[in-house]
């Protein structure tokens, strides 16, 4: 078994993203039934969302800058070039939207959600946008991963190695 630094960094990136999405989903569910009793949990989950997305940004950015160029070259010469030209390009820029929303979420959750309908609506919308954009980004990651896989299979089919 051989696990490289690239593997660890890449998996840490996607794992932090998933935890951030789950935390945002938790904020959404708790806010549907916002009370004084669960206000602290909502704020904690909102902070967890922001922290996880920030770690995802830093770790993913490190992998993207240091390790992705080789994968990109493979994808662009393989049967699925759109895995980079459409999905990676969209993913790497859409992530900034998710990041900004995740930084805003703790600010929105700091309002008194149990007594303020507008604040509840804002938190519900922002949490839902983080979940939806996060899932779209995770799905794009799977397509990019498959783009590398089919490129390697194509090389193997052509060269016999």
């Amino acid at each position: 078994m051989k696990i490289t630094v690239s593997d660890v960094v890449l998996l840490a990136h996607s794992a932090c993203g998933v935890v951030g999405i789950l935390a945002a989903a938790g904020v959404f569910v708790d806010t549907l039934n916002a009370r004084a009793e669960n206000a602290r949990r909502i704020r904690t989950l909102a902070i967890v969302t922001a922290v996880c997305m920030t770690v995802t940004w830093i770790v993913g950015g490190y992998w993207y800058v240091h390790f992705y160029p080789m994968d990109r070259a493979l994808i662009l010469h393989g049967p699925w070039p759109f895995a980079h030209t459409v999905f990676m390009e969209t993913k790497e820029h859409l992530f900034f939207t998710t990041l900004i929303l995740s930084w805003y979420l703790p600010m929105a959750a700091a309002d008194s959600l149990s007594t303020n309908a507008a604040a509840r609506k804002m938190v519900l919308c922002v949490a839902m946008l983080i979940v939806l954009s996060g899932l779209a980004i995770e799905g794009s990651g799977a397509i990019i991963n498959h783009g590398v896989k089919v490129a390697l299979l194509d090389v193997r089919a052509k060269t016999g190695r």
Binding site: G61, V86, I100, D111, N116, M122
Partner: protein, 105 residues
């Protein structure tokens, strides 16, 4: 038990508006650097990679604009539903706009 409503506004409105503007700025910057390689190379030179420069620019716009709007009070006067609609529309426009741009061009 249904939650109450005291009819308060959004205390975080300045950063919601700043977030929406940052999301639109980020989308426009992605399009522009893709269309103009000279800008892409200039952004590569600033922080070592255009994506890093892009992210740092977004952070500066979000925090800077949020702090400026917090002092002005203008964002607090916006109707909460308008602030929410602006942020949701910006995020939806960003997602659709980025995907369409890279799928078409």
């Amino acid at each position: 038990m249904k939650p109450e409503d005291t009819g308060e506004g959004l205390r975080s409105a300045p950063f919601a508006v700043a977030g929406a503007v940052t999301i639109l700025f980020s989308t426009a910057l992605a399009w522009t650097k893709d269309a103009h390689p000279s800008l892409l190379h200039a952004m590569d030179a600033v922080a070592g990679h255009n994506w890093i420069t892009h992210g740092l620019a977004d952070v500066v716009v979000f925090l800077g604009l949020g702090l400026i709007l917090s002092r002005g009070g203008w964002a607090h006067r916006m109707a909460p539903n308008r602030v929410i609609a602006f942020l949701v529309a910006a995020a939806a426009f960003s997602a659709a706009g980025l995907f369409a741009w890279y799928a078409v061009f």
